[in-house]
Symmetry: D2
Subunit: 263 residues, 4 copies
């Protein structure tokens, strides 16, 4: 009882496509009729990139080979136009799993920043989920919105350019994440916006900030408080000389999770 070979999915206009050319250099584009892409290894016509089997090769006008691949979240994030420090896949991945953020979830985040984590959230909740992203700097949120539009994920996000000092406009979120320097100032507002037992999370670079947030979480009766950090160590992938890379990222941020309980 083997499964039918399903009809091979082909690329189409509107798809986000990762093109990988010589020396594993990559670029992400959204396929549009009539457009062309100029690279160091030659020109590619978007029209030649539709109706292709994912993973196949195509040649540029200079005869250079490009692979047409589906981008993973990681690839989407590396291509974000960034005005602010953005989160790393190692942290994003652990946050999503720990906070139960998957298809259909209703999630609040603040602040939006460059929108990299907004992309991760929109990607994770799927077409039936909903993200509410708060940012008090409108010009920053405009950058983020553009980053989401480029990859067609903006329709899963409601952007709100308001200061959360006055509270969130949305309620009953299943998860709420703060990527702000002073999350300790907004814990009552968080409590009002999260459903009981919902997941709260934050990322903070310094120990002083973690200490202040812990005080605020205790004061507001949050439970299951967890503080941790994720270290990601790459190896040189050579079979006969396997070893860790010389340099690694020494720190991104401390991750803090907690859940508000009814009292």
């Amino acid at each position: 009882m083997s499964t039918q070979v399903k009809t091979q999915k082909l690329t189409q206009y509107g798809d986000i496509v990762q093109l990988i050319g010589p020396r594993e250099r990559d670029v992400l584009i959204q396929l549009e009729p009539g457009k062309s892409l100029h690279t160091h290894a030659g020109v590619l016509q978007h029209d030649d990139l539709v109706d292709c089997v994912w993973g196949n090769q195509i040649k540029s006008h200079l005869g250079k080979t490009f692979y047409i691949l589906k981008p993973a979240l990681d690839d989407l994030l590396r291509n974000v136009d960034r005005k602010t420090q953005i989160m790393y896949p190692k942290d994003i991945a652990y946050i999503l799993v720990t906070m139960g953020i998957s298809h259909g979830a209703r999630v609040i985040e603040a602040g939006t920043g460059s929108g990299a984590f907004t992309i991760a959230l929109a990607y994770a909740v799927g077409p039936e989920g909903q993200i509410y992203s708060y940012e008090r700097r409108p010009e920053m949120q405009a950058v983020a919105r553009k980053n989401l539009e480029k990859i067609g994920l903006d329709d899963r996000v409601v952007f709100r350019s308001i200061d959360i000092e006055d509270g969130f406009e949305d309620q009953d979120a299943e998860a709420l994440f703060l990527d702000l320097p002073n999350p300790e100032d907004y814990i009552p507002q968080v409590r009002a916006a999260l459903e009981p037992g919902g997941f709260f999370g934050a990322i903070l670079p310094t120990t002083n900030q973690v200490e202040r947030l812990l005080l605020a979480l205790k004061a507001n009766n949050f439970a299951f408080i967890e503080v941790s950090e994720i270290l990601h160590r790459y190896y040189k992938p050579v079979a006969s000389r396997l070893r860790p890379s010389d340099r690694m990222n020494g720190h991104t941020g401390y991750l803090i999770f907690a859940r508000p309980l009814t009292t």
Copy 2:
């Protein structure tokens, strides 16, 4: 333009519920009519646990307080009946994000083991995704199937009790993960089952195994090979005495990712 407060979601029969009693001890149950749960802190009737607001409290017959929470993936995994070493959330999270495994994905894994990673996959792909899980030991797969049935995720998984030595029965997977001691023996089979440019991943405890897999991946023309490991360090969440925990998990496994390209 604030959002409507949506109708509060209530617990219902069939839901997987996490009950957290005194001293933060927790248990996972699926709500069924007429059933009762016996704990060290007293008895709870399933019938009293439906139509409850998530996050609310309920009392046992001894008057002890229990919270009714939605389990996160992490909670589901900690409750797996395990016959084999299971993967950790830190690794699972990074694997899912790196391999692009989200709603609607079509994923192959081998071997099934106790089904912990199968749960993670089924959870991540949502109701429209599909997991094909291979395991040559039928009795082991029976354990896994029960673990998935307990939390109602078994309908997203096709279990196959065959030896992948002879090839996978399924094709055009977007992602394929091997949790086996000798993945290097099945790379041609992996290539035949993955769609071009799809995501291959494996986890291996020893450096010797990594070296062998790297050789096989090179020999079979895989590209974008990445080897890394994730270290997760917990802190004692006390504001006035913040510090890492005394003991940490020193190793789970090396993560290897690669993508087959057409030649």
Copy 3:
């Protein structure tokens, strides 16, 4: 021009000897005439352990084999009778090298605690060095003194049972190390006891303590301030299944170094 084979050094009364018996279990003793050692693997006479070649074997009265080895610092530390948390070789080693503590050095430490670090200091400075060890609890210092006497290093140490609140009695130390919960309270006293440009060091378990010490060091015009931590990861030493150990020590303490400059 090869070197003469020097006369083989032999064990003698007064030596600290490490005996390693069946299953690599070890014990440290100081050889004394007429004494005997009772172990689970039989009795050994001290008199049979003198005039032996280091590294040789000897049999207990039950015929079990014991090796006679020279203990390394690590072995000496593992045998300390400890009333307090003691420092680890990974940290001790880095402290000694960073603070320039070697033969002939004149070093102050506070507090003495169980004397484990005192042993490391006395070992490092050799017979011509001098350690001044401060501890306000006389009963604790008595434990430490006994630990140093057991291995014959007590003559390199001056023990002082006074509170350093009132200042150190000794001056012009080349290095001064504080292993106390509140080093920030004694920085002027440290400055008065260290020679200009000397090496100051401390170990602290929590981030809050590090923050307070940094403030005090800045306020007292210390330069070359360094904060770091040392992580030590063991591997299972099996050639065909090389991998890190499952469990590792997640934290001992943060190391802080600085040097007082004249102003």
Copy 4:
């Protein structure tokens, strides 16, 4: 009973002096009569640098302030003229402590390389110790010899430009360290040169090398085999924003220790 203030030690000709000028830039020099030092912050006369209190300040001809400090081992190593990858203080420190290398020890090393570890050994064994350093490339050993001469430690080292394939010329070493790509090829030679129960150590960058060395050590009946690695993580030393540095050294080498027992 306070200690006499000992006569303040003053700088003299022949001393290795660390001068720290504006913006914490440092230089190491050996004081010689009549010499002058040219820096970006002006000229200093060696003759003005003798009979100074360690830690004091002196002005260049441009009026810039320099501190006169005693260098620690770390400083000596950073100033090594290096033709090869050199070892880090984190590793050197742990090696010295684990292998019992302190005042008076008799130690063999191969290969010499740029002499950085030779400096560490010479520094640790003091004036009564003895280092035998082997290197088959004479031109490399010449570089090392110069590095030791510069800081006046060359008289503690016997340099031997021979291939250890044919065995070491020296015997009864208390400790023997190999910093070579293929230590597994010389284990019988190591055994012949170490005293029974002596300390063997090696550092190796790749897992493949570690696996091969473990095989050779087992085959030659070494005991107490330990494999580990030391990770050193720096923090930004700012009291109000304490956090790990962004970048860290991801790998230097695996440390392997073992002791030969008589059979």
